[in-house]
């Protein structure tokens, strides 16, 4: 039987899991808090999305153990970020029927 680093990789960090869990709960709480603030929808969107990205990052790095595998981390990140960023081109078109002209604001 071969023994590798993988056998011991999760031996530490039950406490870390709990900390991450509490952080996630707190961040989720912040989102609910933002929802009740008296700000514009776009402001709210930006703030909520930032919090969601931090949450997702925590979940990826610690719950899904990406932080322990440098190669896989970059593979997944570059891949996903490239694809998700590619989808962001459409936004300016979404306002056009309302505003009539691009960048009306």
């Amino acid at each position: 039987m071969m023994t590798t680093a993988a056998d011991s990789k999760h031996s530490t960090g039950m406490g870390k899991d709990l900390i991450v869990y509490v952080c996630l709960l707190a961040l989720a709480g912040i989102q609910f808090f933002i929802a009740y603030q008296n700000i514009s929808t776009s402001q709210m969107f930006v703030r909520m999305l930032s919090v969601a990205v931090i949450e997702a990052g925590l979940a990826l790095l610690f719950f899904m153990h990406l932080s322990e595998n440098r190669g896989l981390k970059w593979f997944v990140l570059i891949f996903t970020v490239a694809v998700v960023f590619g989808m962001q081109y459409g936004w300016s078109d979404s306002f056009r029927l309302l505003d009539g002209v691009p960048w009306a604001h």
Binding site: A5, D17, Y21, I34, L49, V51, A56, S94, R96
Partner: protein, 211 residues
């Protein structure tokens, strides 16, 4: 070493390296890699749906904001986040060889998943009771309920699939056919379902909260 050892029946280590194969890239064996790839593909699917939602929301004047209470969605979020934690405990127990604990915590995860689905369906039934369908709702543009049901429905489908997968893997794990790695791989999927919910909650629920 005999010829047979070199052939297809070579032993495989935890990292997937065998005597006849190069060690896997990133030390991630094929099964786990496949799950990561599926997660990447699935995140593209969800991102596409959420972009479609945002696109249509931007293009629609007087977008309805029908949600009055956040209690239900807050409880659902708590449940799903907690289920991720219990999944982690289950996987760690499996890695330390504590089979009974691993099985127990996986089953707690399953129970939380089912609870989430029940709460979600209850919420749906409430909305349907108020007159919301895929093509009509009492609050404003029909597109709101089209998108709401499509996106949360897709997520609910993932939760349901995850629950079924967890039950199947946990049973096989207990029966000795699957090992800790398989449990961990299924756990990856479960965390991903949780991760998607982190985006669905603010975008689909909280941005549509009545003020």
């Amino acid at each position: 070493m005999s010829q047979a050892d070199l052939s297809i029946h070579a032993q495989v280590s935890r990292t997937g390296a065998t005597e006849t194969m190069t060690a896997p890239t990133f030390s991630v064996p094929a099964k786990k890699m496949a799950m990561w790839l599926f997660i990447i593909a699935d995140s593209a699917t969800f991102a596409g749906c959420l972009v479609a939602y945002g696109f249509i929301r931007n293009a629609t004047p007087d977008w309805p904001r029908p949600f009055h209470s956040i209690t239900n969605v807050a409880i659902m979020t708590l449940i799903l986040l907690t289920s991720s934690l219990t999944m982690l405990i289950g996987v760690r127990s499996a890695e330390q060889g504590d089979k009974a604990k691993a099985f127990r915590f996986t089953m707690i995860t399953v129970a939380l998943g089912i609870l989430f689905a029940v709460l979600h369906i209850r919420e749906w039934m409430g909305m349907i009771g108020e007159g919301a369908t895929l093509f009509h709702n009492p609050w404003g543009t029909p597109l709101f309920s089209s998108l709401f049901f499509s996106i949360t429905g897709l997520h609910l489908l993932h939760v349901t699939g995850g629950v079924i997968a967890l039950i199947a893997v946990a049973l096989k794990y207990q029966g000795g056919r699957y090992n800790a790695d398989d449990l961990e791989i299924t756990g990856l999927y479960w965390h991903f379902v949780d991760l998607v919910w982190m985006f669905v909650v603010p975008l689909v629920y909280l941005l549509n909260l009545a003020h």
